[in-house]
Amino acid sequence: MIEQRVVAPEYLFNEAEREEQFITGSEAVREAIKRANVDMAISYPITPQSESMHLVGDIYAEGYIKEYFRGENEFAVMSSVAGAAMGGVRVFTATGGPGTLRAFEAFPTWAGARLPVVCAFMTRGINSPLSIQPDTLEMAYMLDTGIIMLHAENSQDLYDMILQAFMIAEKPDVHIPVGVFVDGFFITHTRDRVKIAPPDLKLPPYNPYSAPVPVMDMENPPIRQMRDPFVMKSNFISYAAHASWQQEILAAAERSRRHIAHYLGNLLEAENETAPVMIVASGTAVSQSREAIESARQEGLDVGLVKLKSLRPFPTEELKAMTANAKAVIVPEFNRVGWLAREVRAALEAKVKVVGGPRVFGGMTMPPDLILDEIRRCANE
């Protein structure tokens, strides 16, 4: 194994001197995992995720990770990841699009079994017809799996969020999975400036006995104990046990708020939040919105921006506060269904007009002009 020095997460994230590199999103994943003190990574190819897991394989070969292999399909990989996490190691994987849906049954069980797995989702279109192009549709399906969901705007976010995700996921009062979502191709396959910590530093190791549930190693009590809890008798106690367990998973996600705030600053970021027109976005749609806002300001229009970083838990109260002065909220998205607009509408409770769009999908890029058109319409109403 490569020698690295364990440092406090806060030091690695905030204090260690960072070097700026011009790298792809996939390379940013490699740099994050290199410093994440990961025990095991399990891979399966799918565009646009493959390259990042190739690079994770490379650092395994170099001695940064103890175990790495290719599984047989995404459902199997997510199952093996579950087995590894129940065995008490820090484990990482990544997938996207059809891979996410192929594995779908596993995600709620990760949350239900309190597994602190970190998975990167490089989003892409879902068949049919076959598409490998950028699209965030899969996130709509993931919203209610019980996992924490962070959405990266750029490669810097991706690098930071992956490292932060391990620390959030492993907190004993949280101990549920974290998905770090990133828009495939736009980020994975393009270069950007990313500031990274020195490669000889790494996060503290995972302590499996900090888990709120027993590790499956026959080294900790109780011995009559199964994972995940199996409660399927038809009686009231069984229903109550199941109901309270599900509530506890939700509560664990709620408790993650303060840890997300600690490591990421906040669940959202806002600019010019007193403006009458606000754009609310996540992922690369934030970057397109920034361009549109720039043009709008040149036209003398007063527009603000909310960048959502955490989607689960959802920053409802913060969003309400940041849009308190707005008469209209615009939600640009890279998918057909408009899942973010639905979330924003639910959070704002019809107190402000929510414009669901513009939306592009099927792989198209978002012309900032489309967003600008909405800004003009809202500003002139």
Binding site: D39, M40, I42, F69, G71, S80, M86, D217, M226, D228
Partner: protein, 287 residues
């Protein structure tokens, strides 16, 4: 063994359930028990909700009584009738989903190897025929292709019993079951052969009608999987409830099927496994 974590803190002795106290006082951990020791100690399977005469319940009881090292054994199960017994088993055990047991076990085994490099942590998969030969077949075989050091045990009741008796790949040809109203159209899947071809270094088909043979096969399979390669044991465990025979006739049914040649008991040991076992079995009880 030194399994200090098993001991109950004196302050809690009186509030721990009686069954748990018995387990600690006279459980099989670290004892190396076999079939003939049944009745002399507290068993790992406490009570279970499976039907009277269930071949699977009996097979599970026998299997659990011959684990070479229960104190270092973790079981991975799957959805099905046996899953209902596992909350009653005094070993760490995992129920993840229906059919993904061998994938879960692959990750678990590798994790335990990383954490306990100098110790054998036996990872044993115990699942139904539907879980093993149908919905989970790809993950079962892929774990064998990869040479995962795990033991796979199929409890073969020749149907999806837990969902009410539907046809499975392991049902005999011609069997009339739910979802095969005109009788099953194809042969019982030849899992022992598939296992051998896929890289299992030890393969056995056994039944609770011959407990000693069953015990020997389980012990061998788990020992061989520690170092030589993946292993597979198929246990014929008929289901009186869905095949509608009397609970007391389970063993008779097995013997009939064995006699008329429609259920073949067998054992395959690869040369490397043979060598390994010869060294291991030199000094141990043969049962």
């Amino acid at each position: 063994m030194s399994k200090d974590f098993l001991r109950i803190s004196p302050a809690f002795e009186d509030v721990m359930p009686a069954e748990y106290r018995e387990l600690v006082a006279s459980g099989p951990y670290g004892k190396g028990y076999g079939i003939s020791d049944l009745g002399s100690h507290k068993e790992l399977l406490e009570e279970h909700p499976l039907c009277a005469g269930c071949g699977l319940a009996l097979s599970l009881r026998l299997t659990l009584s011959v684990l070479p090292a229960p104190e270092d054994t973790v079981i991975v199960g799957s959805t099905g009738c046996s899953a209902l017994a596992f909350p009653q088993v005094a070993l760490h055990n995992i129920h993840s989903l229906f059919g993904n047991q061998n994938a879960v076990a692959s990750g678990l085994k590798r994790a335990l190897k990383l954490r306990f490099p100098d110790k054998h942590k036996d990872v044993v998969v115990v699942a139904g025929d539907g879980a093993t030969a149908d919905i989970g077949l790809d993950m079962v075989m892929q774990s064998w292709f990869r040479g995962e050091l795990i033991t796979t045990i199929m409890l073969d009741n020749e149907a999806y019993a837990n969902t009410g008796g539907q046809e499975s790949g392991m049902s005999p040809k011609g069997a009339v079951l739910y979802m095969a109203p005109k009788g099953k159209k194809f042969q019982k899947v030849n899992m022992p052969e598939l296992a051998r071809e896929a890289g299992c270094v030890y393969v056995a088909a056994v039944s609770p009608a011959n407990p000693k043979r069953l015990g020997k096969a389980i012990k061998r399979a788990i020992l061989v999987a520690r170092e030589v390669g993946p292993t597979y044991v198929q246990i014929f465990a008929p289901c009186p409830t869905n095949f509608k025979f009397k609970p007391q006739e389970t063993i008779k049914r097995i013997k009939e099927r064995e006699k008329d040649g429609t259920y073949l008991m067998r054992e395959y040991i690869s040369p490397e496994a043979q060598e390994y076992l010869a060294a291991m079995e030199g000094g141990t009880k043969d049962e």
